[in-house]
């Protein structure tokens, strides 16, 4: 690994930094990085208007490889910080990355609460069934009874199904893709970013070092695209959503010889910034970040009326 005081500056408009990647050779994370960079290039969003957050773990290092604003947060806190970034500045394109341990273990409270808000951002779940960075312990998505080579005893816990939990929590866009299918993943990420609301992209991402069960050889013959088999995830109103949600849930529970991927639900409804306007009518009209709060050091907010209200 190269260690220098400062990494060389990236090429302008490039969405990749020159930071050397420290993932294991063959890691499924590379596919997600490539698909994300391709998606950003295709969408042509200025680098400075994109924010990418990560938690802690192998996958959560992705912010360092993407040439946008990045918040490398704490373990489990990628999604919660991402929501605050978007609330603070709705003009930004916000993407949150996290592993299955980060997002569904230590960060599961935020995952559920995020669904309740429906902040307009894209959450990419790097799902490999193990905690890679700490040498392969069982993660919340590892199936019951499995024992990848990195753990000493079989897994006694039932797995969390990210799609089912996402649907149950209220994510308005729920999709699954695969890190070795860059085309599908890139297209899914673009759809997720274009979706107005909270999007979950659960990415099957083999860990080549520790998980010798959920491998490329495991996924390749099993994954099928539900949309190619006729599923239309679009729900344009509450009625359609209520009708499609149970079907999407049923599809999300499939696991075995056939594993579904594609978009399960794409529901257009009120986003959190629209909901905030009910309480703060001017919310989003001005850019909070660029709006001055002082004039040459003098505060601009006048609290005379507030003081009067206590007299």
């Amino acid at each position: 690994m190269i260690s220098t005081a400062a990494t060389p500056p990236a090429k302008p408009q490039s969405y990749r930094t020159n930071v050397e990647i420290d993932w294991c050779p063959g890691c499924g994370d590379f596919g997600i990085l490539n698909a994300l960079v391709l998606a950003l290039q295709e969408m042509k969003i200025p680098n400075e208007d994109v924010v990418l957050t990560g938690g802690i773990g192998c996958s959560s290092k992705i912010p360092h490889y993407v040439n946008v604003n990045t918040l490398h947060t704490l373990h489990g806190r990628s999604l919660v910080q991402a929501q605050a970034v978007k609330m603070a500045n709705p003009r930004l394109e916000v993407i949150s990355a996290s592993g299955d341990g980060d997002g569904l273990g230590i960060g599961s409270a935020h995952f559920v609460a995020a669904g309740r808000r429906n902040v307009d951002l894209t959450y990419i779940l790097f799902n490999n069934g193990v905690y890679g960075l700490t040498k392969g312990q069982a993660s919340p998505t590892l199936p019951y009874g499995e024992m990848p080579k990195s753990i000493e005893t079989e897994n006694l816990k039932f797995p969390v199904n990210p799609l089912f939990l996402g649907l149950a929590s209220g994510f308005t866009f729920v999709a699954r893709s695969y890190s070795y299918n860059i085309k599908h993943l890139k297209e899914t990420l673009i759809r997720a970013m274009k979706h107005r609301g909270l999007a979950l992209v659960d990415v099957m991402q083999p860990c080549v070092t520790y998980n010798n069960i959920n491998t490329k050889e495991f996924y390749d013959p099993r994954l099928y695209d539900i949309e190619k088999e006729g599923w239309n995830p679009a729900a344009n109103n509450e009625e359609e959503y209520k009708q499609k949600l149970p079907q999407a849930v049923a599809k999300s529970m499939e696991w075995g010889d056939r594993i579904p991927m594609g978009v399960f639900i794409d529901y257009q409804t009120e986003t959190y910034d629209q909901k905030l306007q009910k309480l703060v009518p001017d919310y989003g009209k001005k850019n909070y970040v660029m709006e001055p709060i002082d004039s040459a050091g003098k505060p601009l907010n006048d609290i005379t009326k507030l003081m009067e209200s206590f007299c």
Partner: protein
């Protein structure tokens, strides 16, 4: 009389706070100084609670052990509090009492008359017994009934019919109640003042500071502040976000701060405990986030609605690793306001987490405060970059250790925030030993600039005669009873320590060197005295502590300070 003390006591939910708040407001509008103390049980309905309102023409900063007018709303309250009633006092109670101090008001006749007038059953008016008592008290003090009625109308602005009924009761009490005793307060010259607690002061401070994002998880006694902010967010155009837990609250505030907003969170001890990992993260990432920490009696759930200053050492040391932080402890509502504004300036100027340490007494004790002087407030956003820039590095090494701070959306100023040790551009793939030393130096160096640049009265404040041999050291809300007691016990001064981190050694030494030091704190062990010893080597000869969940009363403070010889440890226990 110089000061008048009224207590309303009864089961939680019986209107005791309405009664005491109305009285406090009324006396504020009369031009008096008012100090209130709320002792609530941690429940919604039924348990015994009591409110004290102290009124005086001069400034008062503490409650008195003496009650002049007692308004018990149940028999339990009579039994519990009659011992505090002064011999010249009055007790306003509906049932007959074998006590010459009983002020007899014909509750039933009055309520029946009003019920008949409104065509209602008497039973519907039982909930308004507190208004009978309140009107009885104000009549004994000689307050114009119309002024009381105005306050009642304001309190029930959304329910005019209820206001009308209560005001009819006021009329009836003033007509029917012939008190055998009156309370004649020394006259006062009217001055406009606010009746507030620190949650209001902090809330207003945040508006002046330009706060745009507040996140919180409900917790006593901190959430009153967030709830107050929620009532004004439409007018001041900012966001208050109630999160799923305190971990989310602090992480959201940090992220909003790194997005370029002035952001804060408010909490109490249990919530702060959940925030600690992120506090350390804010230190490492040089994030200007401000945490408002309202202490309550711990440990664990402790006594959620009761008072304590037990978290000083914790707030000073919480968080893994070494990182700079600023800890400020205001001692009254006025300081809470100005400190709030300044906390955001310090956070942004030095790019670090700032903790404003308050307590339950400040959060729940309403008292009169002069209107804030807004000309004394200022905003300093430090090295914030909001315009196009180039060759930007988030953690660039500079002479003062503070890097220019860009935010997302600024062309050429891509932000890379990282909680791992990082190099100048925020990337983490260096565990280079030299870089580590330089980065630690960069961050830790900030504290020396802060000590140099923060104005002297934000570090310490000295009260009393400089020549006094005895000097009290104290902090936070303990200041109130100490200052009140110093008007009686004149041979002792007070050094209020306001900034505990970085600790202002020089300023403290200047006032304490060669003095006899008496420590006064509202915790078990005397945490400030420990800190003083650690930082200066100075030792308090006595630690006067109180940790029964109640703030210090005026009389017990006078009593202990008047002792000819103080013990090494003096425990106050008035409740």
């Amino acid at each position: 009389m110089h000061d008048l003390n009224l207590m309303v006591a009864g089961p939680q939910g019986s209107g005791i706070n309405f009664t005491s708040d109305s009285f406090a407001k009324l006396m504020t509008r009369e031009g008096y100084q008012v100090f209130t103390n709320a002792e609530l049980f941690s429940t919604i309905k039924g348990e015994h609670s009591y409110f004290r309102v102290r009124v005086c023409k001069d400034i008062i900063r503490s409650y008195s052990e003496r009650i002049d007018i007692l308004i018990p709303l149940d028999s339990k309250s009579v039994l519990l509090h009659v011992k505090e009633l002064s011999k010249d006092g009055s007790i306003i109670y509906e049932d007959k009492l074998d006590d010459p101090r009983h002020a007899i008001i014909p509750y039933n006749d009055i309520l029946q008359t009003v019920a008949t007038k409104f065509g209602k059953a008497l039973s519907e008016f039982n909930v308004m017994k507190n208004t009978v008592a309140l009107a009885g008290a104000t009549k004994m003090i000689g307050i114009d009934k119309e002024k009381l009625k105005k306050i009642i109308s304001e309190n029930f602005a959304s329910r005019p019919k209820i206001a009308e009924m209560n005001n009819a009761i006021v009329d009836e009490v003033y007509a029917e109640f012939k008190p055998s005793k009156t309370f004649d307060l020394e006259p006062v010259t009217y001055k406009k003042r606010m009746l507030i607690n620190s949650t209001h002061a902090v809330g207003m401070g945040k508006m002046v500071a330009g706060l745009k994002f507040q996140s919180y998880y409900p917790i006593t006694p901190a959430s009153d502040e967030s709830n107050y902010l929620e009532t004004i967010m439409d007018k001041y155009d900012f966001v208050v976000e109630q999160t799923e837990d305190e971990i989310a609250a602090i992480n959201m505030a940090i992220a909003a701060a790194n997005t370029g907003l002035r952001a804060a969170t408010s909490t109490s001890g249990p919530g702060f405990s959940l925030m600690v990992e992120a506090l350390s993260y804010a230190g490492m990432t040089e994030t200007p986030v401000v945490i408002f920490y309202y202490q309550r009696a711990g440990p664990a759930t402790g006594m959620p609605t009761r008072h304590e200053q037990g978290d000083l050492k914790y707030a000073l040391s919480a968080g893994h690793g070494e990182f700079p932080r600023v800890l400020i402890a205001p001692g009254d509502h006025k300081e809470a306001f100005y400190d709030t504004v300044e906390a955001f300036n310090i956070a942004e100027k030095y790019q670090l987490p700032v903790i404003v340490l308050l307590d339950k007494a400040m959060a729940m004790s309403n008292y009169t405060v002069d209107l804030f002087d807004l000309s004394k407030t200022r905003i300093d956003r430090g090295k914030l970059i909001l315009k196009e820039t180039k060759d930007y590095l988030r953690y660039r090494f500079t002479e003062d250790g503070i890097s220019p701070r860009s935010v997302p959306g600024v062309k050429g100023g891509l932000v890379t925030i990282a909680g791992d040790e990082h190099d100048e551009d925020g990337h983490i793939f260096t565990e280079d030993a030299d870089n580590r030393i330089k980065m630690m130096d960069k961050r830790m160096h900030k504290t020396s600039s802060i000590l140099k640049e923060v104005p002297p009265d934000m570090k310490v404040k000295f009260y009393g005669k400089p020549e006094n041999k005895k000097v009290i050291v104290s902090w936070g809300s303990a200041k109130g009873p100490i200052l009140d007691a110093m008007e009686v016990v004149k041979d002792v001064s007070l050094l209020q320590i306001r900034m505990m981190e970085p600790f202002p050694v020089e300023a403290v030494m200047k006032y304490l060197n060669g003095k006899t030091i008496i420590d006064v704190e509202q915790n078990y062990s005397g945490q400030l005295a420990d800190l003083l010893r650690e930082k200066t080597g100075l030792e308090a000869i006595s630690r006067i502590v109180k940790f029964n969940g109640r703030p210090i009363a005026f009389e017990e403070m006078v009593q202990v300070l008047s002792k000819p010889k103080l013990g090494k440890r003096e425990v106050l226990s008035y409740d």
